[in-house]
């Protein structure tokens, strides 16, 4: 899951070297924390949160296969 978000985020931002993803795993639900360069924050959130929503949809499709839940948090 971590790799997935990192892969997407790095493709969207101008500074892929500043993309940092960490995962706080739980029994059922894990939290994926995404950090990007300050100027790239808008790129991973998108207009009206559209990009963030798309990433969350992709994430839930991927985690449903493993019968798990994953939550994406974008850290400012």
């Amino acid at each position: 899951m971590k790799d997935l978000i990192k892969y997407i985020a790095q493709a969207l931002v101008d500074r892929p070297e500043n993309v940092d993803v960490s995962e706080v795993a739980g029994e059922q639900t894990s939290v994926i924390e995404l950090r990007v360069a300050k100027e790239d924050l808008g790129k991973v959130i998108g207009k009206q949160g559209k990009t963030a929503k798309a990433m969350r949809t992709i994430l839930s499709a991927a985690s449903s296969k493993l019968h798990k839940r994953a939550v994406l948090e974008i850290i400012e």
């Binding site: 790799d3 997935l4 892969y7 997407i8 493709a11 969207l12 500074r15 892929p16 070297e17 998108g46 207009k47 009206q48 559209k50 990009t51 929503k53 798309a54 990433m55 949809t57 992709i58 499709a61 991927a62 449903s64 296969k65 493993l66």
Partner: protein
Amino acid sequence: MEKKTIEVEGKTIDEAIEKACNEFNLPRERLKIEILSEGSSGFLGLVGAKRAKIRAAILTFDLNVEEPKEEEPAKPREETPKSTGGDVRTEQAAVPAAPFLEGLLGRMGFPFPVKQEEKEDHILLNIEGDGSGILIGKGGQTLDALQYVVNKAVLKDGKEKKRIVLDTENYRKRREESLIELAEKLGEKVKRTKRPATMNPMNAHDRRIVHMVFQNDRQLTTKSRGEGAFRKIVIMPVRK
């Protein structure tokens, strides 16, 4: 002006020059610097470290201004690793759509092959899925999310102009057919009741399909209301 020469040591040549400037209380340009020893940090900065040594003198007016250039080559060598190190930007080339999507699917746990087709006004990426429909999602939301991200990533640098459309298991065609069917049913209802009907929020592509259905209908007209993700179509009877 009194001519004076001093010898200064430092960890690096730069440091030694700085010390000399302080000693004379003069800017670097007014000093004549002679490098006696370049110095080295030795092995891991521990063993065999040698201090840099310079000889500095105040420049007299008849001296060539170009003198200071003698030590110039030494300076960049000290500075380069630092300045480039902090400024590395990994500039990405244009992301090819199909391999990007395949990489994305693989990380999702769906390593399905992707076929790319160049169409007149768009690029079609067809995912050869396993028929489970998991990549389509409720109302096509997963497929649309993937399509959105692929478009964002590939169109980022502006080299690729064509829109990218994702499809799997012929979903787009099926969706279009069911949308037309739904629109026609609703249209009949509006004609019967003479009251407007509102459809669920849809994306631009789906709305376009519905608008097209009623394009040549003289009794009905369609409008889009709402903003962004909440934009929806209202089918209305034409007032005479």
